[in-house]
Symmetry: C2
């Protein structure tokens, strides 16, 4: 359990949970049902107020729940959760053989905790979480499958993210994962600093 | 020079150059001037035809060139270029003390080569390149600083990307870099595969 390591992230720095491009899990809940899915196409959109954008295909059930509730959560999963990410990215919560949709949380034994501002469940064991309120934009949603949200609360596992920076050293199992295609991911590595070059003489 | 290692990437797989969330360099040229800037907020938007989206602040000169020409390039830089990324992300091509804007390519000794479909220069030494045609969307551009492009050609350094997959092993200097904040980056690590979990018994 990571509850004891979970700390709030100031909204001014919450974009840093996504800035390095991790693959994320989007969760949403509405009208007694809930779902979670993988999304590699998510990024920050603004600093203040903090906004994010994520691409959700028309076929996914999480999108329906998100549109119904007007809220969602971006969970930033870890290397130790890679099979969960692959699983919820490869299965649908909509199962037409059942009366109700498949509850992936129950089907795969996923533990959750409640957010502070949204109905969507937050997945235990992630490295970071962003609670988001949907900013409805019909053109972007219908034309591009692009959803925009304002971040209203954010959290991180202090073992790997604190003071606005990631520090994965000593916690390889908590490193973020970055999907390429077909269940193949790249794990994030260590930090390095860039410096500004001098201009050439001429 | 990487020219001898540069290979075309099929458009159906070009999203994989961005899917793992690298920080990129956006280049554009218009009316005899050119510029290049860093952008951490870029991602794929669609597979077929391949589209991408990138956030460009109203203050940046590259945005003006991109709007003028209707084309741009997403360059995927490498660890060996980290100081270039930090430099072009920290300086402006608009220098009001000069009659013309600062040519960052000349000021910092950046070598380029020509694309196949666009006016924008492609930066030598990157791991990948996506030539893009702007899909004008005034609302997204004005309201969200969000620009959408269709990828019309793509290239990669075959030493680290081929057959639709990254393979950085043995080429650490060509790994992609992922900005967190303030010139601090995370370097991408090695690959790992996820697998789909069985459903619980109940």
């Amino acid at each position: 359990m990571t509850a004891s390591h979970r700390r709030p992230v100031p909204l001014a720095k919450c974009y840093r949970l996504l800035n390095h491009g991790p693959t994320v899990l989007i969760s949403a809940a509405h009208d007694g049902q809930r779902n979670i899915m993988a999304a590699a196409w998510a990024m920050p959109l603004d600093f203040q107020p903090p906004k994010v954008t994520v691409v959700l295909d028309k076929s996914v059930w999480t999108r329906q729940l998100l549109e119904g509730s007007g809220t969602f959560v971006i969970n930033v999963p870890t290397l130790s959760q890679i099979d969960i990410v692959e699983t919820v990215g490869s299965t649908s919560g909509l199962d037409i053989s059942q009366e109700q949709g498949l509850d992936k949380f129950k089907a795969y034994g996923l533990e959750t905790f409640a957010g502070s501002h949204v109905d969507a469940p937050l997945l235990e064991g992630c490295a970071g979480w962003l609670e988001c309120r949907l900013i409805p934009e019909p053109h972007n949603q219908n034309q591009h499958d692009l959803f925009i949200g304002e971040v209203v609360a954010a959290w991180a596992d202090e073992r790997v993210f604190s003071e606005g920076h990631w520090h994965f050293e000593g916690h390889d199992e908590l490193r973020t994962i970055h999907h390429v295609a077909g269940g193949h991911f790249l794990v994030i590595g260590d930090g390095v600093d860039g410096k500004v070059l001098p201009r050439s003489a001429d």
